[in-house]
């Protein structure tokens, strides 16, 4: 434990860790010191002067270093002026007055100064109702101003800093929190201050403006309504909103979120989501979320929602009752025997995946996870185990990221790793091209696409990197699918797992293998024993397929063809898709915002989400639909209570043993304190009152034997003379069905863009931003070209889920 320091604030004796700032120490003791520029996650700057207090320090005898006593008590000396609580660190014996007459006068004057040029347009301000400036003015302000109202500055009230964030220059109080967040936390210093003094204003000179995947967080910590999101601007008043705890479903990080809803006339009086806000979980996302998590929620309100069961009759899908739809599905599934396949998405809940898997097992069929990353069973064997906290790792821990661009694939992990380096952890980033995380890495390894396994084999060789790896107390490896398909990533996972196992970096906290999955709950599917299939088109032909939450036909024409040639298709989903058009029976499901369930994050933390919106039409939760089909097929599953379904799951799957809904709902005090009445301190992030979740155990942490098969992989295909090697890469904003309906992200999603080295571009005679035709594997499409000198020669990177059906490295022609 850190060394403790004891001091007195307003007569209250408190002990806090050495190095704490007075403002934070007061917060720990439930004493309010008003702040604007100070934020517990940011370095102090002392810019706003709101936190003025009287600070007294004990006088020490110069010779002995002992306190000088007066009447048996240490003699305290106060400076003749007020000091800022946010920049002064605690000292033993310190005495702080936050409520004395002079301290209060100082705070009052600061508010008066701030209001000399504040528009006070609270009635139309998005922050009104949850505004630190409003609250602190009520609590500490003077009520009247000695300054001239006419001398207020009149500035721009609607200045787009980028297409997602708007600035109201009049409301800004120049606290610098947004600028410091982008610099210190996001590592994306694309907003700054122009001018100074009374002319100081937030600006961006970057191209294309305030373009950072963390930009929305600045609106949460901005203490006034100066920064608003394009999505929520003038959307609702905070007091009209209802709040529901949930988990982001967009990536494997599993950020804790709060969904704010409101009944809305524009939606015929029904409840709609108004905004997504971060919810504190210091072991997962702290108090941040990325912009995809914040803005991509619109798909649940998309027009194309499936709301009623349907059955194909005479070649046409027509409305049917739930009973007949379930009966038809069950009959076909039962008949198929080993020709029965569940093809499930990693965006389903654990309870859904569990019921689906046990149905497949019962019918002797197969359960396949729809994913392009293999090797996940190894994360269940030697993944990270209980008591791991990326928010605390520091010196002694080495973090390795291989074949993944975390900034694009799991933004909050990028943040967490970057902060871990600041605390003293070692970071090794291995990728064939430059990624954002390189800037923060202790060591960067560049390898050729195809050399992933070789690269892992050399991680413990005798050089600086090898030393950083082998001498480390803890090692966590994040592996991804950059440039890899199912087989390639499985081979990579196996190589990583072997290495971790060999050096004992497994089965204990802060050690193990993490997969950078494509969806929020792929981890859950791996834990439950799903597998992935490298050649899906061939595999699906002639099968009876139960497609849940997936749209293979929309993703790839080859898969569409395979599904056309399947024997029977039951499609269970929330949205209409190319796949649902091929269905023999449609089973409409509830979106995760409309029901209860759990996800298992890539860090193997199980977390609960709660219903935020009423049920739509006749939709049912996935686990219940599956249970009804199972019952029809003569097999009893839990289909009513989701927590009971979870109980059965935890009795069956060893890594979930002893977890329950009530355990997942447990909370512990977290630092910093956020939410509650004092939004001025941490921002508008919600407090976590509904559960921090719990970690799964691993085979290794349970002390069982771990077997790691060596996976051989065919060497990457060799492109011909006039071809390039096309490799898949993952982008944050893609054309996935859960992203595309968000109109506010339209420009961020953009067109499919392929990247290549300038020499190749020159040879092909294309310019940056030029349009080309790319063809591979009998498939072709158009794409924009981005020239990037860090892309290896002979390679073109192709984004997944952007209309080009790439699953693994393939030779391609570009024209």
């Amino acid at each position: 434990m850190d060394k403790q320091v004891t001091l007195t604030i307003d007569g209250k004796l408190i002990s806090v860790p050495e190095g704490t700032f007075v403002a934070d120490a007061a917060r720990m003791a439930d004493i309010d010191i008003p702040v604007f520029c100070h934020h517990p996650k940011l370095e102090p700057v002392g810019m706003c002067r709101m936190c003025l207090v009287e600070i007294g320090r004990p006088i020490r005898d110069r010779a002995t270093g002992q306190f000088v006593l007066e009447n048996g008590q240490p003699k305290i000396q106060f400076l003749p002026k007020l000091e800022t609580a946010c920049t002064n660190r605690v000292e033993d014996g310190m005495v702080v007055h936050t409520q004395s007459e002079s301290a209060k006068a100082g705070q009052k004057s600061t508010i008066e100064f701030l209001l000399t040029s504040h528009p006070l347009d609270c009635p139309v301000c998005d922050k009104g109702g949850e505004c630190p400036l409003q609250n602190l003015t009520m609590a500490h302000g003077a009520g009247k101003s000695r300054f001239l109202y006419d001398e207020k500055l009149h500035l721009e009230k609607r200045k787009p800093l980028g297409e997602l964030i708007y600035l109201d220059q009049e409301r800004c109080i120049q606290c610098g929190r947004c600028v410091r967040f982008q610099d210190e936390i996001a590592g994306d210093p694309v907003i700054g201050f122009d001018e100074r003094g009374r002319s100081m204003q937030i600006m961006t000179s970057s191209e294309p403006g305030f373009d950072s995947v963390f930009s929305g967080n600045t609106t949460d910590i901005c203490p006034v309504g100066a920064l608003t999101t394009a999505d929520f601007r003038f959307g609702a008043r905070p007091w009209e909103l209802e709040e529901f705890p949930s988990i982001c479903s967009q990536c494997p990080v599993g950020c804790n979120i709060t969904i704010n809803t409101r009944r809305e006339a524009a939606a015929d009086g029904s409840m709609v989501i108004k905004r997504i806000m971060p919810r504190q979980n210091e072991t997962v996302n702290e108090i941040w979320i990325c912009d995809k998590g914040r803005f991509a929620y619109h798909y649940t309100e998309s027009k194309g929602r499936l709301t009623r069961p349907a059955i194909r009759k005479d070649g046409k899908l027509s409305r049917a009752s739930w009973d007949s739809a379930i009966k038809l599905a069950a009959e076909n599934f039962a008949e198929a025997g080993k020709n029965f396949v569940v093809l499930a998405s990693g965006r389903l809940a654990n309870e859904d995946l569990f019921n689906l898997k046990s149905l497949a097992d019962h019918l002797k069929g197969d359960a396949v996870l729809y994913s392009e990353i293999g090797g996940g069973e190894l994360t269940s064997a030697i993944g990270i185990s209980p008591d791991t906290n990326l928010g605390e790792v520091g010196p002694g821990t080495t973090l390795v990221v291989i074949a993944s661009d975390l900034y694009q694939e799991a933004p909050i992990w990028y943040l967490r790793l970057k902060q871990a380096v600041r605390r003293g952890a070692t970071l090794i980033v291995a990728n064939p091209r430059q990624t954002r995380l390189d800037d923060h890495a202790s060591y960067v390894i560049r390898y050729a696409y195809g050399d992933e396994v070789k690269t892992v084999h050399s991680l413990d060789k005798k050089n600086k990197i090898g030393e950083a790896f082998t001498r480390s107390e803890n090692v966590i490896i994040f592996y991804g699918s950059e440039g890899l398909g199912v087989e390639g990533s499985a081979a990579l996972a196996s190589a990583c797992a072997k290495l971790l196992n060999e050096y004992g970096f497994a089965g204990k906290p802060n050690n193990g293998l993490v997969g950078v999955w494509q969806r929020a709950n792929d981890q859950g599917a791996w834990e439950m024993g799903y597998r992935v299939e490298a050649d899906l088109p061939r595999f699906l032909r002639g099968k009876v397929v139960y497609l849940v939450g997936v749209d293979p036909a929309g993703d790839d024409p080859r898969l569409a063809k395979a599904l056309e040639n399947a024997k029977f298709l039951a499609v269970q989903d929330i949205l209409e898709s190319a796949t649902s058009e091929l269905a023999d029976v449609i089973l409409p499901a509830q979106a995760h915002t409309e029901r209860e369930g759990t996800f298992t994050s890539g860090e193997r933390r199980v977390q609960r989400y709660y219903p935020a919106l009423p049920v739509l039409g006749e939709t049912r939760p996935d686990f219940a639909i599956t249970a009804q089909i199972a019952r029809q097929a003569g097999f009893i599953q839990e289909g009513t209570s989701v927590s009971a379904a979870f109980d059965i799951l935890s009795e069956t799957i060893p890594s979930y043993a002893e977890l329950s809904y009530s355990k997942l709902a447990e909370v512990q005090p977290q630092w910093p304190v956020v939410g509650r009445g004092d939004l001025y301190y941490g921002g508008t992030t919600y407090e976590n009152k509904h559960g921090l979740g719990a970690h799964l155990t691993t085979t290794a942490s349970r002390g069982e034997n771990v077997h790691i098969l060596r996976v051989h992989r065919e060497s990457a295909p060799r492109p011909q003379e006039n071809e390039l090697l096309a490799v898949p890469v993952t982008r944050l904003y893609d054309r996935g069905t859960t992203v595309l309906p968000a109109k506010v992200l339209k420009n961020r999603i953009g067109k499919a863009t392929i990247s290549m080295h300038p020499d190749i571009a020159e040879r092909l005679n294309v310019k940056n931003g030029g349009l080309v035709k790319i063809s591979f594997d009998g498939h072709s499409g158009e794409a924009l070209v981005q020239i990037d000198k860090t892309i290896p020669a002979g390679v073109v990177t192709v984004p997944r889920s952007m209309g080009l059906a790439i699953h693994e490295p393939v030779p391609a022609k570009v024209k």
């Binding site: 210093p189 694309v190 700054g192 201050f193 122009d194 001018e195 100074r196 000179s205």
Partner: protein
């Protein structure tokens, strides 16, 4: 042409003064170099500097914005920067500035129609006891003018117009 291409030796010499992992520190001298080039700092010069120093263009622009001696747009040949900070204000700087503008027929921040003089109000220039005061910034460098009156200033402006050069 970028600064780096035009003045490779000078840029190299500036960079050599700072440790490689703190090369951002070279932002000030590089901005001076850029300003010397055109009389003000162009957007593309900021972009050059940002790239050279691994900074974002916003960070460079923020430095330009912070310092009154850096200029990011074309202005008059002579920038007359009048201090209006508190001590100067107590010695009549505000009135001086207002009258001066009246005489020149322009507002603070504007340039005379012949492109000769731009008037600006700035923070303390460390000559508080000699207010009203201003500095003139031009290609010839920096010059202080202290204990000024509007008449004396108008004479100075006339002389500048005539000589095309700054006079004491």
């Amino acid at each position: 042409m970028s600064l780096l291409q035009k003045y490779p030796a000078e840029v190299k010499q500036i960079l050599s003064k700072y440790p490689a992992d703190h090369k951002q520190s070279a932002v000030m001298p590089l901005l001076y170099l850029a300003q010397r080039e055109n009389g003000y700092i162009t957007g593309s010069a900021m972009q050059d500097i940002a790239e050279t120093l691994d900074m974002t263009q916003t960070e460079v622009a923020a430095v330009v914005g912070f310092y009154t001696l850096y200029l990011d747009k074309k202005e008059g040949k002579y920038r007359m920067q009048v201090c209006t900070d508190l001590p100067c204000a107590l010695r009549g700087a505000d009135k001086f500035l207002q009258d001066l503008c009246g005489n020149l027929g322009i507002k603070v921040g504007e340039t005379t129609s012949d492109g000769l003089v731009t008037i600006e109000a700035v923070m303390c220039l460390a000559a508080c006891d000699k207010a009203p005061m201003f500095q003139i910034q031009s290609r010839d460098g920096l010059e202080y003018h202290e204990d000024m009156t509007v008449d004396k200033t108008m004479e100075l402006v006339a002389a500048l117009a005539k000589s095309g050069r700054e006079v004491a």
